[in-house]
């Protein structure tokens, strides 16, 4: 029998503690992982890092996939489709309910394990919906999720509105057991899984929310499960993410990621060439040759889930007749725009849809053909007399926007359309409802792999175009309801096809010009792959 004295026991305990500490110290000393600095035009439009509030391509770059993670993830380096992330599996319980199993061993940046309560809280009233109600039924109040003795945060008013747009009929999240949750909808909905991987559906730590002094305090340092955690965020200036070494997916490959705001493209490129930045984002296509003329650098990137479109106000006197709008769609040589302004580095898509729609994608659907003769004929049939059609344009809000508008105006002129550019300073001026509103630019994204995320969300009854009273179509609105609530795949396909026919041919609401593309410049020596997205993936596996 071994006798252990109190002193010996203390000594052993100290030794054990030391042995636990030493390897960590050793690891810390040998951490030779790289740190990178990324020059971006903007880090966040809202000056927060809140995924539900920051609903823009801008935020995608800094928030995903390095910081925020959802139950279902996006395959960033692949087809952009859904992949398991914080949930390992999911299944349909019925046409209104999806059940998900949480991944074991996931920890938040504050050390808390991911729980079903965190998931339910994330989709609860206090965080997302406030007093808003789903389109059918009442929100479920999940037991045990009352505010725990702390004052509720005052949500910015746009958060419940954003949340309800994403989850119009979500009744709530039911906790089934310690590893299982159910998302329950008020109406049948085949898109629940898709909605779970869109921006804004990521999981937050409940305790961090409750301990934060205010919404802003929380939103500028959210506690999430991602591979990197927020170390320092200076709105309009910089964001420092540091490796979260306890990340469930393995040790992140970088020690630090620093995003810095450099609004001028010339400054971003100069900073890259002089070695201050490792990545320079938002490189316009006409700068690619210049950057790559230096053999040490390359420009990566390409098309993203976003299409540039030109939008019509059908109430403008010259555009009331759909034949005039149709003529405009046939007068545009889209390939010329892609070749001349984008150096061929983007593509003309199959209308307002994306291949990741799966069986909802129509491969045979095309944008209106470039046919000036047909355009002239349509104008003749419409009795168009050459009256001016105003075209509201922002100064390069979109890449190449002004040049594209000028080319379009010339192409329209070739077929006899008298379109006049009106330069505007901001979106308020572009959308202002006045008698001379006729044509404007826009872009549409697909936030998840179903047409509900694009054609319904943007051009359906609750979409911007109808809400600002530019355009409406009774049949499209009926088809939107079918797409949102029907679970019959064939019926949904038929409804989507009909919507495309109406919106892009019969009664044009818009016309698709080309896919948008995003380009990032970097030294060739850095072995990293760009996603087909604004997001920059620095998770394990994408750095060597």
């Amino acid at each position: 029998m071994v006798n252990i004295t109190r002193r010996a026991a203390l000594g052993l305990a100290a030794g054990a503690a030391g042995s636990l500490a030493l390897p960590r110290f050793a690891i810390g000393q040998s951490d030779n992982r790289a740190s990178v600095t990324i020059a971006v035009q903007k880090i966040s439009n809202t000056n927060t890092l809140d995924c539900i509030r920051e609903q823009s391509n801008v935020g995608e770059r800094s928030l995903y996939p390095n910081l925020w993670e959802g139950l279902i993830g996006r395959n960033w380096l692949g087809d952009q489709g859904p992949v398991p992330l914080l949930a390992t599996e999911w299944k349909r319980v019925d046409d209104r309910t999806v059940e998900l199993k949480l991944r074991d061993g996931v920890k938040f940046h504050n050390g808390d394990p991911l729980t079903v309560e965190d998931v339910a809280f994330t989709f609860g009233q206090e965080r997302m919906f406030a007093d808003s109600q789903p389109t059918e039924g009442k929100t479920i109040y999940v037991a045990g999720l009352e505010t725990r003795g702390r004052e509720a945060k005052e949500l910015p008013v746009e958060i419940p509105a954003n949340a309800r747009r994403q989850w119009p009929a979500l009744l709530g999240v039911e906790i089934v057991d310690r590893n299982t949750v159910r998302f329950v909808n008020g109406t049948p909905d085949v898109t629940i899984e898709g909605r779970l991987f869109q921006a804004g559906a990521q999981i937050m730590n409940r305790r961090a929310w409750e301990e934060a002094k205010s919404y802003d305090d929380w939103a500028r340092r959210p506690i999430t499960t991602g591979p990197y955690m927020v170390s320092d965020y200076k709105p309009d200036q910089s964001l420092l993410l540091v490796s979260y070494d306890e990340y469930w997916g393995g040790l992140p490959p970088l020690k630090q990621i620093r995003f810095v705001e450099v609004p001028e493209v010339a400054s971003r490129i100069n900073g890259l060439l002089s070695g201050e930045y490792d990545f320079a984002c938002d490189i316009p296509p006409d700068q690619i040759v210049g950057v790559e003329s230096n053999s040490d650098f390359e420009v990566l990137g390409g098309t993203i889930l976003n299409h540039r479109i030109t939008v019509f106000d059908k109430h403008h006197p010259q555009l009331e007749n759909p034949l005039v709008r149709r003529a405009m769609t046939h007068a545009i040589d889209r390939q010329a725009i892609v070749d001349s302004l984008w150096a061929g580095r983007t593509a003309i898509p199959n209308g307002l849809q994306w291949p990741f729609y799966g069986d909802m994608f129509f491969d045979d659907w095309k944008v209106p053909e470039y046919n000036p003769e047909l355009a002239r004929q349509l104008l003749q049939e419409a009795g168009y007399k050459g009256d001016p059609i105003p075209y509201r344009v922002l100064n390069n809000y979109y890449t190449n926007q002004t040049a594209t508008a000028q080319i379009q105006v010339e192409m329209w002129k070739q077929v006899g359309l008298n379109v006049e550019i009106e330069m505007k300073e901001n979106w308020s001026q572009v959308l202002e409802h006045t008698p001379n509103r006729a044509v404007r630019d826009w872009s549409n994204s697909a936030t998840f792999s179903d047409p509900v995320s694009s054609i319904v969300a943007q051009h359906g009854p609750n979409g911007q175009q109808q809400q600002v009273r530019e355009w409406t179509n009774e049949e499209v609105n009926r088809m939107s309801v079918v797409l949102e609530t029907s679970t019959d795949r064939a019926k949904r396909r038929e409804a989507f096809r009909r919507m495309l026919e109406i919106c892009e041919r019969e009664d044009p609401a818009y016309t698709v010009l080309h896919q948008n593309a995003v380009f990032t410049a970097k030294p060739k020596a850095l072995k990293w792959k760009a996603a087909s997205a604004f997001a920059m993936d620095f998770r394990p596996g994408n750095w060597s």
């Binding site: 008013v157 802003d216 200036q237 100069n270």
Partner: protein, 309 residues
């Protein structure tokens, strides 16, 4: 003197009120902050809720009176984009801007005035020509062009200086040089012409004829008289200290008041814009006031006029 002071103060307050009113009308008539801040993808319900929350549905004159009333009580309003008091946001940025503008002012004075005076004293010499060619180039070249040229030389080609950011004092070198060169050119031109004009005055000849040494004529008679137009320009430069680096701060990613102003204007973040405009107006008014006082100090005739007034 008190009447002079009160008159100036009254004029200053009227100027500030006009600036605030003008900015309010222009900004509010040229865009809805809700649509701009939330962006084109925001759902209409979010835009409506935002407008309601910030009182943007009220008639514009109600918004104006409410805003002006708050200013009179010392409340400069909240940033619609940031949700924080506008004064806090602006105050955070002032040190960064002063880190650029104060050294820039010193650089302008240190180069511009001696160069201009020297050129005037050596009028039509080769030195005068070189100084004036340099001044014209510095004066006419837009600051963003000069800035990019300096970055290409000192950052990209030579690798000596950083091209942007605010991480160290070294990061301030190129922005200061860019602004300093342009400002020094202006001062050099003004100093030269002021000195040339003064050197042609009868009292300079008289002083020389009385046997006063030339350096003493320059120090005692020429420079004080030439100082009045120079002080006017310097006063304007001092007035621009808090927001005189709008372009340069954007070019060099320097997080100062100028960059905040650009962001706030583009977002129609009214309270922040107004706060910065107030700051600029107050600085400019104070600077002009000090210049007026200096006029009296430099020119006894003006001093006597003040006294009579």
């Amino acid at each position: 003197m008190l009447r002079f002071f009160l008159l100036r103060l009254f004029r200053a307050l009227v100027t500030i009120a006009l600036v605030v009113t003008f900015a309010f009308v222009v900004l509010r008539m040229s865009g809805d902050p809700a649509t701009i801040i939330l962006g084109p993808e925001a759902p209409p319900s979010a835009v409506a809720a935002f407008r309601e929350a910030w009182g943007l549905n009220d008639p514009i004159w109600v918004q104006y009176l409410s805003y002006f009333g708050a200013i009179l009580q010392g409340d400069l309003g909240m940033s619609m984009r940031d949700g924080r008091p506008a004064i806090e946001l602006v105050a955070e940025r002032i040190p960064a801007t002063l880190q650029l503008t104060v050294p820039t002012l010193i650089l302008k004075l240190a180069i511009g005035i001696p160069a201009g005076v020297y050129a005037a004293l050596h009028r039509d010499s080769i030195v005068d020509r070189i100084v004036m060619i340099g001044a014209v180039v510095g004066f006419t070249m837009p600051s963003f062009v000069l800035g990019l040229i300096l970055v290409l030389i000192f950052s990209v080609t030579l690798g000596w200086l950083p091209s942007g950011g605010q991480d160290s004092w070294l990061h301030a070198a190129l922005p200061i040089a860019t602004m300093g060169i342009g400002g020094a050119a202006v001062l050099a031109r003004f100093s030269r012409s002021a000195m040339i004009e003064v050197l042609g005055q009868p009292y300079i000849r008289t002083a020389s004829a009385k046997g006063v040494s030339w350096p003493r004529v320059i120090r005692g008679h020429a420079m004080p008289n030439a100082a009045i137009p120079i002080v006017t320009i310097v006063g304007f430069m001092v007035g621009s200290l808090v927001a005189g680096a709008v372009v340069i701060e954007s070019l060099f990613s320097w997080p100062g008041v100028g960059r905040l102003l650009v962001i706030a204007v583009s977002n129609r973040d009214l309270a922040v814009v107004q706060c910065i405009l107030l700051l600029i107006a107050v600085t400019m008014v104070v600077s002009n006031f000090v210049v007026d006082i200096l006029y009296g100090y430099l020119d006894p005739r003006l001093r006597n006029n003040y006294a009579k007034a």
